[in-house]
Amino acid sequence: MSGKTLNLKAKVRPPPRIRSDAPRMVRQVFHRFTEEEVIPRAQAIDESRAFPRELFKMLGDMNAFGVRYPRNKGGAGGSTTIFCIICEELARGLVSLAAEYAMQCLMGTNFLFHYGNAEQHERYFLPAMKGEKVTAFCMTEPDNSSDLTGCKTSAKRDGEDWVINGVKTFVTNGPVADLFTVLVQTRPGSRGKGLNFCLVPREAPGLSVSRAFATLGTWSTEMSELALSDVVIPAQNMLLPPGTGMRALLSIVAEIRTMTAALGLGLARAAYEASVRYARERYQFGRLIKDYQLIQAHMANMATNIYASELMVRDCCARIDRGESPLNLSSMTKYFVCETACNAADRATRVLGGYSYSMDYPVQRYYRDSRFLLYGGGTHEILQSTIGRTLLR
């Protein structure tokens, strides 16, 4: 090439190391997905009160459910940071979808992935990653919810099989799920020491799923009760070594709380953005309402808490990605961020005035959906108790 010898300025140099920043790219891609695919359908999906199969399949086609799992096992090779960015972006559009997404990525498939055998991976895990099979996670019982060690759903050995009896409730995705990961007690009376997780396929004889509950928010997240009556499962469906259920659950608690916070952060942003847009276009008394200080106070409060929330979520994600298990910090994060989301949704209903009360605008949905964040991953009373107890130990 003559260029390099004849001209001093055009130089052959070793190519610079240039690569895109993964978190930024993921945010960009899922921001656009939410803008193009989720937001335009959000109200119709919500009002249909039905599981959004089309969007769920799209997320499968993007291999988005595989975010936490390695690429060579059908996953996408991401991290908690990447996972939470996606949760946040989807929640900005529709909390229901984000919750179903998170269920499929984390609680619905975690134990199947880590403890399932090759045949179970082939049969359930890979189709779940493609969005072709829906998964659910069943711990809560009518009488035992915050206190999981009180789990009464029993598993009794019967030769090579296990026989399961009990009732589970508040099962997210229950009415549409193909596979349930169920918390069971294998040694009655032993509380935490006999807990285990087992796989129950929907077609298992003796399993009955109630119809979907009527709920306050997240209308398109279908939720139901599950009755297990002499359900027989083979030995390989009992996933964990005996009595290690509590420890296994503990291994993902920080992640569940951080993920729930990420959903809250997305919802808080949606409420904030709707408020900003409205304040910039609504005139009263001849001025835009953004010029009124009490409206500005709402914005300042929302934006400040959202900023703090963002840093908390980011820090917990980074810690989990470094291999830490930030139990107390993730409790603080879930507590603070989800309270921020409820508060931001509340403030948005004030900024938008009467229009926030109309079912034609999304702010009513933000308000209803914000309550979803208060229970899963630990109620805020439970979280405050554990944070306080840990600090004063």
Binding site: A10, R13, R17, I18, D21, M58, G66
Partner: protein, 269 residues
């Protein structure tokens, strides 16, 4: 079949800001995206490659280092390889210079059976790059294409020409610029996206010298045109808000319409 796709990073806004001093586009502070029509070109390339078999899709962009992002996205949408042409010497290139560099890069990389590009970039807006690259490579070309079919080594394309459509047969090698009606682009795959952000991603980075250019042949120096002035047209529209009771506002509106000579003897002119 060796397929190249030309992709351009553009500001995500139709409100482009221009540096009043230099007349150049101000890119800082504006989110950057892949030119929308280029997503359609890429989708067509990936589909064609799958249909034809034994094919490769290489995406090519000339731009600043941060233009890597459109290549990352393209790899996540199924491209096999990406090439970034970046060099401070490329700065200030007009369309002639840009297409010269793109054409040289395609030759440098072994040549193409098919080059796909967007019809027009939403910022530069000239729609000149595709045709100029085709000329530089001595290829057949078809622009404004909304349908592509591959049959026995030939392309049959449908061009959208305003009110009428045109169907053409193109022997390969050829360059085709596409419009949004062509297809519905898929979303990027997360696993490929994350892979494309890693060091081992199949991304090649080339500068002017790598392509055998001298400094004066590229960028502003190698451009045939000179931008004399670039400006945002001043909008003459003014909005006025009328206040008072409905009756007062109606009366005020009538007054304004009469003053503007839009009303006479109670009727609209």
């Amino acid at each position: 079949m060796r397929i190249f796709v030309l992709v351009k990073q553009v500001p995500d806004s139709t409100e482009i800001k221009i540096d009043p001093r230099t007349g150049n586009l101000l890119r800082q502070g504006v989110a950057a995206i892949m030119n929308p029509e280029d997503r359609h070109a890429l989708q067509a390339a990936v589909e064609l490659a799958a249909q034809v078999g034994e094919s490769s899709v290489t995406v090519l962009t000339m731009g600043p280092p941060q233009a890597i992002d459109v290549l990352t996205e393209a790899l996540a949408c199924g491209a096999d390889k990406a090439v970034l042409l970046t060099d401070e010497l490329f700065a200030g290139a007009d369309t002639w210079s840009t297409s010269g560099v793109l054409a040289r890069a395609i030759q440098h990389l072994g040549g193409a059976h098919l080059v796909l590009a967007g019809r027009q970039a939403i910022d530069g807006d000239t729609a000149q790059i595709g045709p100029q690259v085709a000329e530089a490579l001595g290829m057949e070309q078809a622009t404004y294409v909304q349908e592509i079919e591959y049959l026995d080594g030939e392309l049959e394309v449908e061009r959208r020409m305003g009110e009428h459509l045109e169907r053409l047969c193109l022997p390969l090698p050829a360059l085709v610029t596409v419009v949004a009606e062509l297809n519905v682009p898929g979303h990027p795959r997360l696993d490929l996206l994350l892979l494309a952000c890693q060091d081992r991603a199949p991304i090649e980075i080339l500068n002017a010298a790598d392509l055998g250019f001298k400094a004066q042949e590229v960028g502003l120096a190698g451009s045939l045109t000179e931008v004399v002035e670039t400006f945002s047209p001043k909008s003459a529209r003014e909005t006025e808000f009328l206040e008072g009771s409905p009756a007062e506002m109606a009366a005020a509106l009538l007054g304004r319409l009469k003053a503007a000579k839009l009303l006479h003897k109670g009727g609209l002119e």
